[in-house]
Each structure stands twice: as structure tokens, then as C-alpha cells.
Symmetry: C2
Subunit: 463 residues, 2 copies
């Protein structure tokens, strides 16, 4: 947990930005896996963590600006609970640790909110994503579950985004910690991957390192010989020499700041020539993007610069044709690079995603595109100092997508479909690092993780 004053300052700024009303923060409850009492690993809500810091189930909080009150709602453990769960600090002591003076039993929140409603106070809440919290909001605010999303407070959402987007130095320390553990996971995968091993075996190793770091996995591990399947969580394949292995995984800290790193390695000792050619293009795209990072530059522009590197490289290889800049303008490169260059990173791996992707990543000046590929870019707005983001270009050969584009005659001027026939089983390559944006440029977060062809191959010596 951070120092008390950090939480107090965050809430003070929120009160000032909002001006009036009651701000409602839903903590999370335990989440049932296959029955009520067999739960997933507890994850507190990120906004609750950000403003109230308390990392346990069964809490909610309000900031009643009109009456200048902050209250944490939660129940003390009974002796029965203590036998099963151990001693814990009282709710009052926990509240004090984050600078909140008033606590009430959990059930009182319903009464409190109903009274506020009848006094014509405006109750602001953020988008719920857990269904239990939707049911609670329905009960507390008498708003049917289906109408909740329309009743979310955009003013509240924007006030939260305007704080969480700018990482303070204490948060950077946590992010570095997460990425340091994440680096260990990647070095282990790059060192230990061996033909004959299953993806699951290697996944187990990196999962273990994440847990040993004191947190856990920040998001489901992608560790696959089918890197061209972008959200692939199947780990049943056996690694074979000649294949590429794409690993996109990261740890979070006990406070839940997340690392998000991708590396791609050859299962053999060395990359094949074909693999190396594509790898160098992706790496150049990443480096170009990183060199472009700076407050004042839009991330949409940086995405397009990376796309241009990819289109240029693929044109040189004969897989694309025509003018690369025109190809990018038309969106033809997205056959190979169908996703965005990156996203904000913080307490959430896609930071603040459920507050609204467009509210987080776009603004009045830069709107989200509808073009295939570019429409998947989560962050497009002008960068500002304090933003933390991922840079993660990739090149993939997706047979289903190639077949569809070819059948539809899509971008015949820019794609050399014939030359693609020998790349159908290539897989995919992505390289991803995490950066802080500064006024002068950017700063790599966490230790450098081997990523040039030579650096990666140096770890493959026992393969």
C-alpha cells in the first residue's frame, strides 16, 4: 500500500474535479469458479485500489462531497471467521491506514444511498463489470441491471481517467517491480524452451515465477507456437524445432500493477533465415515507435510509423507491393499487423479499459478509425508526460484472413498473394516493451530484456 497521503490527495483532487454529489466505489467480492466457495484468486477493483487502497473482499466506499464525508463500508470478522481465516486488522484500522475516518457496516450502504437519493443528491457510479456488483447496484439504486450502463456517470469516469492516466513516481516503482518479475519469466522461457516440451510445461514455469514474485499473472498467458492466433490460450502443443514460439505474458505485483511483455523465439537454437527476415522488420518497427515516443506526439501517428516500417519491409521481401506509404494509407498492411501498436498500462493491463476504451485512448482531437487494423488501436490520442504504455508491433500470417482477403480481392494492388503461399505455416512474431512517456522522449520500464536476434539466440544455447 502507498503512503496514506497519496490516497488522500487522490480523493481530494477527485472531490475538487467533481464539485458535488455522492461518488460510489464498488469493491469486488470473491468470484466463484465451479461452486460458491471454490473461488478464483481474489482481485480487488482497480478504481477501489486506486482511491482506497484496501485489497480485500467485502468492501464498498462513498465520497459524499455535499456533506464532506468519506465512508468505507465493511464488516468486522466474527470469532468463527477468525478461526478459519486468521486475525485481521479491523475495518476502522484499515480505513485509517488510507486516511478514511468513518466506517459503517456493509449493509448500511443501501440505506445511505437511498437517503441520498431522496435528498436529491446525485449518485455517481463507474461502469460495473462484475455481475454481482450489477445486482447490488440494482438493489441499492433501484436501477434495473439492463439500464445501468446508460446511467454510468461520464463526469466521474473522466475525472478518474484524468488521474489514473498520469503515473506518479510511486506507481512507476511498482510498475518496474512488475516488469522485473515479468523479465524473469521471459528469460526463463527463452532459456528453457526445448523441442519435445509442451507449451503447458513452459507456461507452468512462467506462471510459477509470477506467483513467486508475490503477485500473480497480470493476464492469461499466451505462450504458443501459433502466434498468428492473437488470443490463443491453448497450451497443448509440443514444441518442435523450426517453429517460432510467441510468449505474451506478465506478472502483477501484490498491489496489482501489471507488466505486459512479448518476446518471440525460435524453438531451434537459431532463427531460420525466413524467420530472421520477418523478425528484423518487427524489431525495426518497435524501435522506430520507441524513438518516436514523446509528449505531444499522437500514438495514432506512431502506430502508423510502425505500420510503414512493416509495409516497407514486407515490400522489400516481395510479400507486399506498390508504394508502402499508400499501402498503409489504404490499410493493406493490416493483413499482417491487424492489431494496435499498444495501450495504456497500470493497475489494469489494458489500463482503465472498462471505463471506456475511447474515453481513455481518444479525445475530441483524435477519433478512433473504422479501418480494419487501425480500429483495434486502443490508444490514439496525443501522448503526455506520465503516460505508461506498451509498444507491441507484430507480423502474422493468418491463413483464414489471407484466404478471405484473397477471395474478396482485397488490396490486390498492395498484397502479393502468390508469394504468401510459402508463409502459411510461418506463425507470428510480436515484440513488446513497456515505456513511460516523458517531455523529452521516453524511458524503458524494467530491465532490458533480450530482444535482438543475437541476444535471443544467446539464450537458446542449450536448445
Amino acid at each position: 500500500m502507498f503512503d496514506t497521503v497519496i490516497y488522500q490527495q487522490r480523493r481530494a483532487k477527485l472531490k475538487k474535479d467533481m464539485g458535488s454529489g455522492v461518488l460510489l466505489f464498488m469493491g469486488n467480492e470473491e468470484s466463484p469458479k465451479n461452486y460458491t466457495d471454490n473461488t478464483y484468486h481474489f482481485r480487488q477493483d482497480s478504481n477501489f485500489l486506486y482511491f482506497f487502497g484496501l485489497n480485500q473482499a467485502g468492501l464498498a466506499a462513498i465520497i459524499d462531497i455535499d456533506n464532506d464525508l468519506e465512508i468505507i463500508f465493511g464488516d468486522e470478522l466474527t470469532v468463527d471467521h477468525i478461526v478459519w481465516m486468521g486475525q485481521q486488522a479491523t475495518i476502522a484500522d484499515q480505513a485509517t491506514s488510507v486516511g478514511v475516518k468513518k466506517t459503517l457496516p456493509y449493509k448500511d450502504i443501501s440505506t445511505y444511498l437511498k437517503k441520498a437519493q431522496s435528498s436529491k443528491q446525485l449518485i455517481h457510479f463507474l461502469p460495473p463489470y462484475r455481475h454481482l456488483n450489477m445486482l447490488k447496484l440494482e438493489e441499492w439504486l433501484t436501477i434495473p441491471v439492463k439500464e445501468l450502463s446508460a446511467r454510468v456517470s461520464e463526469q466521474f469516469v473522466m475525472a478518474v481517467i484524468n488521474q489514473r492516466s498520469y503515473k506518479i513516481k510511486e506507481e512507476l516503482v511498482e510498475l518496474e517491480k512488475a516488469i522485473t518479475t515479468t523479465a524473469k519469466m521471459h528469460v526463463a522461457a527463452m532459456s528453457n524452451a526445448k523441442a519435445g516440451m509442451t507449451e503447458a510445461e513452459l507456461t507452468g514455469q512462467v506462471n510459477g515465477i509470477a506467483v513467486a514474485g508475490g503477485g500473480g499473472l497480470a493476464y492469461p498467458v499466451i505462450l504458443t507456437i501459433n502466434g498468428q492466433i492473437l488470443h490463443n490460450h491453448y497450451h497443448g502443443n509440443v514444441l518442435e524445432k523450426g517453429q517460432l514460439l510467441l510468449g505474451d505474458f506478465g506478472a502483477d505485483t501484490a498491489m496489482h500493477y501489471a507488466g505486459d511483455i512479448t518476446r518471440t523465439l525460435p524453438v531451434s537454437y537459431r532463427f531460420s533465415l525466413k524467420q530472421r527476415e520477418i523478425y528484423q522488420i518487427v524489431l525495426k518497427a518497435e524501435e522506430t515507435a520507441i524513438q518516436s515516443l514523446k509528449a505531444g506526439v499522437s500514438y495514432k501517428d506512431i502506430h502508423l510509423r510502425a505500420a510503414l516500417v512493416i509495409a516497407t519491409g514486407l515490400t522489400e521481401l516481395g510479400l507486399m507491393k506498390g508504394d508502402p506509404a499508400e499501402a498503409v494509407e489504404a490499410g493493406a498492411h493490416a493483413l499482417f499487423f491487424p492489431h494496435g501498436l499498444g495501450h495504456m498500462l497500470g493497475l489494469d493491463v489494458h489500463d482503465m479499459e472498462d471505463l471506456g476504451e475511447d474515453l481513455v485512448g481518444y479525445d475530441d482531437e483524435i477519433k478512433r478509425s473504422n479501418q480494419f487494423g487501425l480500429k483495434s488501436l486502443r490508444l490514439g490520442r496525443k501522448l503526455e508526460a506520465g503516460f505508461v504504455l506498451t509498444v507491441e508491433p507484430g507480423i502474422y500470417f493468418i491463413p483464414d484472413l489471407i484466404d478471405k482477403w484473397k477471395a474478396d480481392g482485397t488490396h490486390l494492388d498492395f498484397i502479393n498473394y502468390e508469394a504468401l503461399s510459402t508463409y502459411r505455416d510461418f506463425g507470428g512474431i510480436r515484440i513488446e516493451d513497456n515505456y513511460l512517456v516523458t517531455t523529452e522522449g521516453s524511458r524503458l520500464l524494467g530491465p532490458p530484456i533480450p530482444k535482438t536476434v543475437l541476444e535471443v539466440e544467446a539464450l537458446r544455447i542449450h536448445a
Copy 2:
């Protein structure tokens, strides 16, 4: 997945047992962690797995007995999805693999059920435990969420319990597989635990082995120097020589059959004399219980036999006094052994728990006790061949509970409170194995895992 015929037989028996009506099976959806798209590892509903075998999100099924129809509801992937998620078997092909001929789009289930309701067909459903499924039931059946539990079909629940309680040989193979991975996890923990290491580091190792096994963790890992806290998932302590380390964890298979094993080891090379004395009592309690396992014997009786071993041992050590049999009758042993001897094990680690603990573990003949300790016994009924269960006695020194009993003057005739003062920092010991009940006795599932003092100490050689 099992052979098609197994799922067909299970559903045929269910139809016969129920006679009429529409049986509704809710599959599970992805479960949001900190935002909608960052989900926990997918876990299908166990009843859906048992009768329909399909291990993916977005499915539901019905057995319409009145019209002799079985239908799986689910949606095919779009090309967009295939780009991100990869190719998958069609819903129809998947349904065929479990012997179901008819499939419909997911949205059609609502119409189907509403039509069945208006034709006065009785719709049977099982207790929902995921809040999203509660919201779906509310919509499909027009039953408010708060009334769902009262409208669950006890006939359906009992028909399911009457099948899932008896494990067939194919299920035993899966359980042995889960317990084999679980054994590797325990041997690793017993071999690798070292003073100076954090609990989290060791937790990471066993977690990694579970994932490498092709499934994952069957339940949250307990791996703690505070074994006296029964549901302790905190892993922040550093191991120190002289401490006891209690590990209760298990893997599940890709099909989700679970292992559930506990071992307790000294962080030092050897147990101290005091630790060994208590350990031997717990081991004797476990062995006595195992020797008593046999179809026709009630598990409540076996629990009490284990309790008698514990009370006798603690009396010999001077921590209890009076007649041990009378102490057990009065419930005095529960100060040290406050939980039940075990529970059914299968697709759920507490098998079928959300179908109703008393319906699974008790019957008209043997009812659950209200006595402290005994009331926590999940399985009390007469054992039958085919039951798979855990045997897990323990002895704990729980300062909060000791203080409360002492202050209340509880069981002064049986507890030697003065002698307990030197055991306040002892911690706890539990030993747990998994057994199949047979007509002649029982069979250990999985490989034997070191558990005598000598066997455990043999693994501690590098400590």
C-alpha cells in the same frame, strides 16, 4: 473428453430417473477479473461437463424429456473471431462428439424455454452460483434472482447426485492423473522448502507444476507456516527453521477432475520432538480412518474414530484429560480438530458442493450434527462402493479459539488449558489422502506420497 457413449448413458439415466419435464443445463461464461475482457482462466460448470462434456464458454443445453429432445445452444465463430481466436470445431461437430444431434443458436434458448413454460412443461434447473447465470435464469424463466434458490428442482438435484456420487473407471483414471500431478507438487514442496524462502516462492513452484500437468490448480493453494489458520491463502511469510509448513493443494486435469492432498513438513531437516509427537497422532488418526473405509460404514462414525485417536493421543500428552471417548462425545477434541474428516472428491474438489452439502453428504438416516467441529463434517452418510473421498484429520493450536474456550470455561473437564500455554505458536498439522471406497474396503488413488516422519525427513535432506 470421454467416449460419446458415456455422455449418452448418463443422459439416458437422467431422463429415466426424472421421467418428465425439461432439464436445463447452464454452461459457464468467461468470468471477469478486473475488467470485462481480462478474464480468469475459463472453468466450465461441472454438471455441464458431466452430462455434455464440452469445455468452452457460451453454451447451454436442455434435455426435453417430454419431447425426447437433446439440444445444445451455442454460436458459431465469425471470421473476425477466427482471426483472434483460431479455428474451432463447429458447435454441431462438438455436439456430435458427445452424442447430441440438435444444436441451435444461443439466443434461441430463451424462446424455447418460454414456449415450454406456456405449454405447461415443468422446467428443472440446478442451483446457480455464477451471478451472470442468475441473471440469465431471471430473464429466461421470468423468476427474480432472489427467488431462484427457492425454485431449484430438488428432484433434478438428487438425480444428478445419484449419478455423480458413483465414479466409473474412466473417472478414476482421470482422478489418478490429477493426483499424480498433485503428488509431484507435494514432493517438490517437501524437497525444495528452505529457510529464507518465502511461502510465495514455493507456492509459485507448485502452481507451475499444476499448470504444466495440463490442467491447473483445483483450488487456491494453502501453503503456510500458519497451518492453524485453516483457510489461509496469504503467502508473504519467510520460512524459518523450527517452523512447520502445511501444504494443502492439488491439480486438476484438463477435464477438471481434482486432486486434494495435504502434507505438513518441518522447515528444518527434522521434526522437533514436540512436532513429531503431534504428527504421529495425526498420522495414526488418518491411518485409523483409512482402515475403517468400507461400503456400509458411515463416514460420521469414521470421523468420530479419528477424533478418538486424536483425543487419546492428546490425553496421553497431557493436553487433554478425562476419558477420551467421553471427550469426543462432548466435542472437546474439536478445540484441536475443528473441521470434518473429509468430503467427496470428483469434478469439484468438494464434489457437488453447490448441489447442497446436506443432500450430497447426509440422508434420512444420518443427519448433520450441530456440535462445533462435527457440524463442519461435509460427508456423514453411509459409504458406498464408487464413492471417492478425502481423509484429512488435523491437529491445530488456534490461540483465538483457545482463549475463547478458556474464557468461556468450555470443557474444563477435558482440556488442560495450562499445558496449552507452550503450544500457542505450534501452528497446525494436517495429513490428507484421496481414496476410492470399495465393497471390501478402499483403494488409495494416485501414487503413495511420502507421509511418515521418516519418509518426510528423507526429502528434507538438503534443508
